[in-house]
Symmetry: C2
Subunit: 225 residues, 2 copies
DNA sequence: TCGCGTTGTTATAGCTTCTAACTTAGCACC
DNA sequence: GGTGCTAAGTTAGAAGCTATAACAACGCGA
C-alpha cells in the first residue's frame, strides 16, 4: 500500500519471489501446470525445499500468482498490439485478434494456465485476475467499438433477456462510449476466438485436417462485418 | 477382437477394470483430473495400491481410458437426444445443442476431462477417441445438414483456402450427403459452443454478469439462420 | 490332479507437499 | 557500537503419491 521505498529486506524478498515465479513459469511453459513443483524450484535455486514456504504459503498460492502474472502479460500484449496500430477500425480488430492468437500459440501452456486452471473460488475472484481480464477485454472492446455500425448488430438475434443484461452492463460500465451492441460483440468475439484456440491447442481440431488459422480468420471476418 | 465368450478369468478382469474406472470417474467428478489417485482407489477397494497395476499400467493409462469412456458417453448422449427428435430441421439442432450444454453443466469436470486433458500424443490419437469425436460430430452434422440451405452458407466469408480444405474433407468423408457447407457449419458450431461452455465452466464469464445460457441460445440461433 | 499363469501381497525407492523445531544472520534501535 | 528481535535459512519428518521388484497363494485349464 505505502509508496515508500522498500527496505533492503523487502527488496531481497521481492527479488526472491520474482526468481521463484520465473522458474515456476518456465516449468509450466515446459510441462504444463502439473509440472509446477516447489521442490524442483528449490533444487534449482540450491536451497532446501522448505525455504520456499517463506515466500509462498503453498503450491496453490504460487500457481495463483502465476495465473495472475500470465493474465497480465496477455493484457499487456494485447494493449501493445492495439497501441501499434493507432488507427481504429477493422485493421485494429485484425491486429488485436492476431496478437491474441499469436500469444496463445507462442505459449500454449500459459494460455491454458490462464483460461482453464481451476483455482479455488476465492482466488479466482481475485481483484488482480478480474482487472487483467477487464484490461484484455477492453482492448477488444475499444477496437470493436470503432467499427462502422453494423445493420443488425443491435437488432436481430438478441433476445429481450440478453438485451436487458447488456444494457445493465452498459450502465455500470466505466466506459459509457461502449454501446450494448459493442459489448455483445465483445463477448461473442471472446467466446468464439477462445473456442477455436482452446480446441486447437488441445489437438481436437486435428482430426478434421482443417487449418485452425483459416477458421480463426473466418471468424474474425464474420465479427467485423 | 475375437467374439468368443470370455473365460472366467477374463470376465473377472473386466469387472475389476470397470470397478476401478467407476471409482476413478467419481474421483474426477468430485475433484477434477488431479484428484485421480490409484492409491485412493485401491484403499476404497480394500486392496493394496500395487494390485491395481495389474489392471492399468500407469495412472496415465487409467486417465486415458476414462477420457475415452467419457467421450463415448457424450457421443451416446448426443445420439440419444437426436434419436428422440426423429424429425430433422431446426428443432433437432436445438435439441442436440441443448443436450451438449446439459451434459457439460451436469458433469463439468468430465467435460474438462474430455476437452482439456493433455494426453501424450500417442494416446490422444487413439482410435477410440477419434471415433467418439467423430460420433459426436456426426450428430451435429446430421442435424445441421437437414437445415434449409442458407443463402450465404457456402459463399460469403469462406476463403478459397478454407473452401479447398472443406472440399477435401468432403471427399474423404464416409458421409457423402454432408456438403462442404454443412461441414463448415459443423466445425463452426463446435468451436462456438465449446467456446462458451469452456469459459462458462471455468468461471470466466462471471465478471460480465451475463447469463451464459442466453449467449449459448443466441449462438445456436445464429448458426441455424 | 497337477502345473502354471494370474492376482494378490509386502517392501522399497523416489518423488511430492507441507509442518515443526532449531540455527543463523542481519536490520534497527538504543 | 553493541544488542536484541525478526526474517530466512536449515534439517527432520509425516503423509501422500507413482511405480517396481520379489514373493506367496489361489484357481483355471489341460
Amino acid at each position: 500500500m505505502s509508496e515508500q521505498t522498500l527496505s533492503r529486506r523487502e527488496l531481497y524478498r521481492e527479488q526472491t519471489r520474482a526468481e521463484i515465479m520465473m522458474i515456476g513459469l518456465r516449468q509450466i511453459a515446459d510441462g504444463g501446470a502439473e509440472a509446477l513443483s516447489l521442490n524442483a524450484i528449490a533444487k534449482e535455486m540450491a536451497v532446501s525445499g522448505a525455504a520456499l514456504y517463506r515466500y509462498f504459503a503453498s503450491r496453490d498460492e504460487l500457481l495463483a500468482a502465476l495465473v495472475v502474472q500470465s493474465y497480465e502479460d496477455l493484457a499487456r500484449t494485447l494493449e501493445a498490439s492495439a497501441a501499434k496500430r493507432h488507427k481504429l477500425g477493422p485493421a485494429r480488430v485484425h491486429a488485436v485478434a492476431a496478437a491474441y492468437r499469436a500469444w496463445a500459440l507462442a505459449e500454449p501452456h500459459r494460455y491454458r494456465l490462464v483460461f482453464s486452471t481451476r483455482l479455488d473460488p476465492g482466488r479466482l475472484a481475485s481483484d488482480e485476475i478480474v482487472l487483467a481480464s477487464q484490461r484484455s477485454m477492453n482492448v477488444f472492446l475499444q477496437a470493436l467499438g470503432s467499427l462502422p455500425p453494423h445493420s443488425d448488430a443491435t437488432g436481430r438475434g438478441v433476445s429481450p433477456a440478453l438485451a436487458a443484461q447488456l444494457e445493465a452492463w452498459h450502465q455500470r460500465s466505466s466506459e459509457p462510449a461502449l454501446s450494448p451492441a459493442t459489448l455483445r460483440l465483445g463477448v461473442t468475439c471472446w467466446t468464439r476466438l477462445h473456442g477455436i484456440m482452446s480446441l486447437e491447442l488441445d489437438g481436437h481440431l486435428h482430426a478434421t485436417n482443417i487449418d485452425p488459422a483459416l477458421l480463426y480468420a473466418a471468424e474474425v471476418e464474420d465479427l467485423i462485418g
